[in-house]
Symmetry: C2
Subunit: 229 residues, 2 copies
DNA sequence: TAAAACTTTGCATGACCTGAAATTTTTTGG
DNA sequence: CCAAAAAATTTCAGGTCATGCAAAGTTTTA
């Protein structure tokens, strides 16, 4: 799974520099707070020029988000791989579950990141923002599922993400908006699960919190009973 | 409903300046795009200094968000006014419905704003961000409802937003996170409804789109049937 | 080793945003 | 109506962010 093999020295150094910048940014901001860390501080901690920092990240905040840029495409790919017979919400749950697992594999880094986000509320939008990009792509795939499903297409999903006929995947904005709603709600559930996980210091399994949220979603979010125990 | 009466001339001028800055920002960005409008442009269009702009808005983007700062508190107040017997999701629907009505009352301004947001995706996070603040407050109120409900408290909700006993409203982060989930999902539904409304150029009633989204939420977001007509 | 491709860097520049002090406008009350 | 007080605006200085460009350095390829 480590896709950083079979790379020339140059690309390896690039990955390493990028990771080092992310680590330094996270550490420094956790220590001093976002406002008291300059780009020069971060670059200096890795011993590169501040100009180089901007060769890797468009903004200071982006270095804190981490998460490789391929994440969105990965999710879309995995979603198209789920048989079309599976309901959209369930399909999204399965895909997000995988993401949750990979986050748990980098437990410490993610807990630190989430703590930084809590302590610097101005970053929260960015976290959702990473979602903005992801949300658009996923929505297209979900819309494609509905389009295919409505015409009785089989579960052999050879259609590429967003490469399907425009008439179907495009009905999102102008159609009934169900794909948008399901996708947005699913990502929201993911975000809430992450916050809960962070608030509990990573004690329960993120995957379980995610399942919990989705189970509530699928039953229409009823109020918890007066005596649940 | 126009709460700008019974104000001295000074406060009226402040409101007017603020509104003028919002209008100018929205107009200019709609014309030229976010990147080609400087704070100085906006301030100049209203004939104030750029420093004055920053006395009203912390960032350039904030001028585009608009929406008076009392919105969050208003929502919370209205939510506490809903009888505790009403399920949380339904209560949120009722409250957000009122917000939707008031948005429809400023139809043109909001449609322009949403168009600007679509054309400048970097702003979308900010839209959700305005939500970040709102979401925190609303979550506390929702958690309070559960706390009160669980102990059989009557529907006479005299409790103030966030002023209730900490032991109950505070169980959000460490509890089962239901309040967080319901609130976040409800606001997401609101956002999706707004996007749909904008995409349809304000043709259907925003309120109807909102009801539609909530009705799907309460039934667990099932896939649309193959032949819905 | 030499050329090609790429990365890093320094420099210049403009926009963003803040604090502090000076100036102008508005309110207050005698 | 006129000062004094209060508040808003402006000017100014300064730090940080972010980008474009060209020079210098490094890695790859041949």
């Amino acid at each position: 799974m480590d896709s950083n093999d079979e790379l020339g020295r140059r690309d390896r150094k690039k990955l390493e520099t990028r990771a080092a910048l992310e680590r330094a940014a996270l550490r420094l901001v956790a220590e001093r707070g976002l406002a008291d860390v300059t780009v020069e501080d971060i670059a200096g901690a890795v011993d590169v020029s501040s100009r180089t920092f901007f060769n890797y990240f468009p903004t200071k905040e982006d270095a804190l988000i981490g998460g490789d840029p391929t994440a969105a495409a990965d999710l879309c790919g995995k979603l198209t791989a789920v048989p079309a017979a599976v309901p959209a919400l369930e399909a999204l749950r399965l895909v997000l579950r995988e993401a949750a697992v990979s986050i748990q594999e980098q437990r410490e880094q993610w807990l630190l990141r989430l703590k930084v986000f809590e302590q610097n509320p101005s970053l929260l939008p960015r976290l959702v923002a990473g979602g903005t990009e992801t949300e658009r792509s996923l929505t297209a795939v979900v819309a494609g599922r509905f389009g295919a499903g409505r015409f009785g297409a089989g579960p052999d999903a050879t259609e590429q993400a967003g490469a399907g006929p425009a008439a179907e995947t495009d009905d999102g904005p102008t159609g009934d908006g169900h794909a948008e709603l399901v996708t947005a709600v699913a990502l929201t559930a993911f975000r809430v699960a992450m916050m809960r996980w962070s608030a509990a210091a990573g004690d329960p399994l993120l995957v379980d919190l995610l399942d919990d949220a989705f189970s509530r979603l699928s039953t229409g979010l009823p109020d918890p009973g007066p005596s649940v125990t």
